[in-house]
Chain length 280, copies 2
DNA sequence: TCGATGTCGGAATATTCATTCCATAGAGGC
DNA sequence: GCCTCTATGGAATGAATATTCCGACATCGA
């Protein structure tokens, strides 16, 4: 045997591979076609199973799976399986969305198109996961807590600063007294030293947690000021002793995390506080 | 050894296990707690990885993973891993769960639930409309324009300030020189007077346009500095003579407009500029 | 009918994997 | 300060896995 009839590099994303399997199915030997049919119909099993278990379900020999992978240019079965696994992984899930959105735009595969589509998708998935995770009771609790406060302190730095600065703007428009901490001025510790248990604070921080945010949040919380926290893990050092916390996981693209979920939650809280005040 | 301290049957679904890991974390030995944190943060890696690969990423020994699984009552690591895999397996069951949980959200029909759902939907619709409107060529053009600039000035106020402040942060991380205009300091006109035609600026503003943003943008543009504009109408007074503009229409809920689309576009531009610079 | 080419099944193999075991380090009680 | 029990790292082990290899069979053309 010289080489495979397929010298081209194998597809690295699931949908390209799927299309390739469909189109080449009729020219494939009997058993390999059998594998193609099974793989298209049961991608999840291919992702999780072992060569032996998949072979049994597809009614072929394990060696056939290896041949199948090699016929498509992969190094071996494991190499092919990785593509099926990536499909289910969070980071790259739902290639169909990416592909269709790419196709809907005229220019094909430019770097910009990928970036744009990637960030849009990250935003959409972040909001989707927010919907699943957040309980309405948490919002009610946080809104009630904040509505009682005389002053609301907003603590957020770096990536979280856009969120707190938006809240600061919105609270201002709604006539809710709030103080934004973490801007350029260096007198934040002093500002926070005025907080009392009759006030409240909102702290927002994600991995890697900005040390100043941590310090401020702890300090203020131990002084008895209740805290509403938005963070990305139940193990976050920001979890308050007194107050409510939200777990928000933002999808990322190329290492840049979305802000859409945090923003949507921030807007909800802001307006909910204003509503609660009006009702009281 | 008689038996594990945990005689109860181990959880068979992911979310029960996750809750258990969260609640038991503080009573767990150091390395096991380390595993719990990693597993909660990276459930996908646990689902697909091998004991060795996961152990490396979590910075523990493979044997620790086995001990961890046994501490929770599982027979071994593979037994525990199956729970993580089931989470990703047939997503049809996941979808039905999500739907029912959604219904319970809506069923409450409390004010908070309506707010929350409204802002999530606004975010999703905004991103959707962004996808349709923006042309990849515009992004390329804007990125090229910004990549050539010595300094990038960021102009945005009120509702747009969170967007420019995010760009300022991201540009900083990417090593792109930028100056944020519109913060608390009052010397913005001076700052902008240093801009030359070899620089560039990004201006963001929506109806009703903040007058300062308009003034700054016009001034700088007439002095020959090219401008990238994000605004909400082709008739916006911000449309530059020299430069590129994007039309971004944010959906609103109860008068509060989303920021998700602007944010996604801002992230795209930021990274595109950095990529363009790296390529040059 | 006879090779030639390509396909397949199944055993053999080498690798990778989860698990177990043991020595050591550390924490806590007396 | 000594002893005990737990926690941990790391090597050893045996099982399971992907892959390779070879013989057998089928298909096709001459």
């Amino acid at each position: 045997m010289t080489l495979d009839d397929n010298d081209a590099l194998p597809p690295r994303d699931f949908w390209s591979l799927r299309n390739l399997m469909v189109s080449r199915k009729d020219t494939l030997p009997k058993r390999l076609a059998q594998v193609a049919i099974y793989a298209v119909a049961n991608p999840d099993d291919v992702a999780f199973g072992t060569a032996a278990s998949i072979a049994e379900k597809a009614e072929v020999q394990p060696s056939t799976l290896v041949r199948f992978a090699q016929a498509f240019g992969y190094q071996g079965f494991s190499d092919l399986q990785a593509v099926f696994q990536d499909r289910l992984r969070d980071r790259t899930s739902n290639y169909s969305e990416r592909l269709s959105s790419l196709r809907s735009h005229v220019a094909g595969d430019s770097k910009s198109a990928t970036l744009f589509s990637g960030f849009c998708k990250a935003a959409e998935r972040s909001v989707g996961s927010l919907r699943e995770r957040v309980q309405v009771e948490q919002i009610d609790e946080a809104a009630a807590l904040l509505a009682k406060a005389e002053t609301i302190y907003l603590i957020g730095q770096r990536r979280s600063f856009p969120v707190t600065s938006y809240m600061s703007y919105a609270f201002g428009k709604l006539g809710v007294k709030s103080i934004l901490v973490g801007s350029a001025q260096g007198n934040d510790p002093e500002t926070l030293s005025f907080a009392t248990p009759r006030d409240a604070a909102i702290a927002i921080s994600f991995t890697p947690y900005a040390s100043a945010t941590l310090t401020y949040a702890r300090q203020i919380n131990e002084a008895g000021t209740p805290l509403v926290v938005i963070t990305d893990s139940p193990f976050s050092p920001l979890i308050p002793k007194l107050g409510v916390w939200f777990e928000v996981v933002e999808a990322d693209f190329e290492g840049f995390r979305s802000l859409s979920a945090s923003m949507a939650l921030a807007m909800t809280l802001t307006v909910a506080v204003a509503e609660a005040r009006r009702g009281a």
